[in-house]
């Protein structure tokens, strides 16, 4: 591949692939994702300032670039940033959800990460959870935590932990209702939640560090720091 075509280097497959969930569940995920995204899209289009569009697009490109495994976990292995909470913290819940959704779609159609039929479920877990739970959680934490850069960064980090763990929980529930694989729920839940508790901590740490570093250089770029209310 050459020329102007983006080269997408992939880490591990984290998104739900085709065939993992039953058809009705995938369809249900599509319906929920469609409804949530219709809302996010409408709100994003109306609340957007004109210059937010290139910023949102660049934020998506940033998330794609960070898809390569960049976060050290232990020698030789690395996780990568999911970035949903980071996106809503920087762009607000509506535009953040739009950006993460398009990154998920691009990964599924172009990089083979995540199934085409599981797109709905993946969008619910990765884009709508940060927008509808992670963002309010950040605002809530901001009220509790001391004001200032460190407080804002910690709030974003805690929001990220919550989003990731909740997405893992949601995945486990989706699996319990409609998994096609026949592994006992307890085994699955322990494996998924155990793994994602660790992933969530890393995500929270890195999100907080990125937000803190950003606040030092360009505090105006962090949406949650700009507006106290939703």
């Amino acid at each position: 591949m050459g020329g102007g075509r983006p080269r997408l280097r992939r880490g591990t497959a984290v998104h739900i692939p085709d065939g993992f969930m039953s058809g009705p569940m995938a369809l249900g995920g599509g319906v929920v994702a469609g409804g949530g995204l219709a809302l996010c899209g409408r709100r994003a289009a109306t609340s957007m300032r004109e210059r937010d569009l290139p910023l949102a697009g660049l934020c998506g490109a940033f998330l794609l670039a960070m898809e390569a495994p960049v976060i050290p976990v232990a020698a030789g292995t690395g996780g990568h940033l999911l970035g949903g909470t980071l996106a809503v913290a920087l762009l607000g819940p509506w535009m953040g959800a739009v950006v993460v959704t398009m990154v998920t779609v691009i990964l599924a159609l172009f990089a083979g990460d995540g199934g085409t039929t599981a797109l709905g479920l993946n969008v619910v877990n990765l884009a709508l959870v940060p927008a509808f739970v992670g963002y309010p959680a950040i605002l809530g934490w901001r009220r509790v935590l001391p004001a200032g850069r460190l407080g804002i960064a910690a709030a974003c980090g805690l929001g990220a932990v919550l989003s990731v763990v909740l997405a893992a929980l949601l995945f486990t529930i989706e699996y319990a209702v409609a998994g096609t694989v026949g592994v006992p729920l307890g085994t699955m839940a322990a494996a998924v939640l155990g793994t994602y508790a660790a992933v969530g901590l890393i995500e929270g740490l890195v999100t907080a560090l990125i937000v803190r570093a950003l606040l030092e250089v360009r505090p105006d770029l962090v949406r949650v720091a700009r507006s106290p209310g939703p």
Partner: protein
């Protein structure tokens, strides 16, 4: 993968829709119907041959699946249900069948999107989504994302090399600060690039949500018919496997 084959020439939105429908048909097949998976896989391989996609490219893209397959291999052992002996090991029949079906469906999904990606440039895929009535906010954001992903990935590589040259080789979690600072620096640069891009667009007359601009190239009935041949065949196979029409 630039080339000039009938598959490359099809309008992007026909290909995107066809890929979605094809994968949907394959994913809806009953798990016992191994012949459906074989048939779908054979159709995709034939399509890849017509599109002259090098087999190595397809294989390389299938490597995305490896961590996932490692999980699937464990299923026959972890799943409950009646046990059967395979090579002297007791495995769950249900788990083994499910593992096989999942691996097949995921592979078919990957092959289908690989052919799509190999025959359709990413900007065209975004344009195709817009033709399929995806709202403008989504496609406009995606258009920017696609246009700058490569630029930022290059930036990130260069920053990583620079950090390595100065001895910053983060290997452990407590060294995550290095990576986070690099990422934050990249994010600031990306945003500042976004602001410059915006100013450049405004100075060339940008007034709102219109950076994509579809060239008028609607697909004819012939293009749609050609694109929908394989999804229709896959759909028919799935229906037959479910025993319909009886």
């Amino acid at each position: 993968m630039p080339a000039d084959t009938p598959v490359h020439r099809l309008p992007a939105h026909c290909k995107v829709a066809a890929t979605g429908l094809f994968v949907l048909a394959a994913a809806s097949a009953p798990r016992e119907a191994l012949w459906v998976y074989a048939l779908d896989g054979a159709m995709l391989i034939a399509l890849a041959a017509v599109a002259r996609v090098p087999p190595l490219t397809l294989l390389r893209r299938l490597t995305v699946e490896i961590p996932f397959l490692a999980f699937v291999v464990l299923l026959p052992f972890a799943a409950s249900g009646p046990r059967v002996a395979v090579l002297g090991l007791p495995v769950s029949r249900l788990g083994a069948l499910a593992a096989l079906a999942i691996a097949c469906k995921a592979t078919i999904g990957l092959l289908a999107t690989s052919v799509l990606a190999a025959t359709t440039p990413l900007p065209d895929i975004v344009e195709g989504l817009e033709r399929l009535r995806v709202p403008r906010v989504f496609t406009a954001v995606a258009a920017f994302t696609v246009r700058y992903a490569e630029v930022l990935a290059g930036d990130f590589r260069r920053m990583r090399v620079a950090r390595l040259c100065r001895g910053g080789d983060a290997r452990w979690l407590w060294q995550a600060r290095d990576v986070a600072v690099t990422a934050a620096a990249l994010l600031v640069r990306s945003y500042e690039r976004g602001e410059r891009v915006y100013l450049a667009m405004v100075s060339r007359g940008f007034t709102g949500l219109a950076p994509v601009g579809l060239p008028e190239r609607p697909a004819g009935a012939a293009a749609w018919a050609a694109a929908l041949v394989l999804p229709a065949a896959a759909g028919a196979a799935t229906l037959a496997a479910w025993g319909w029409p009886a």
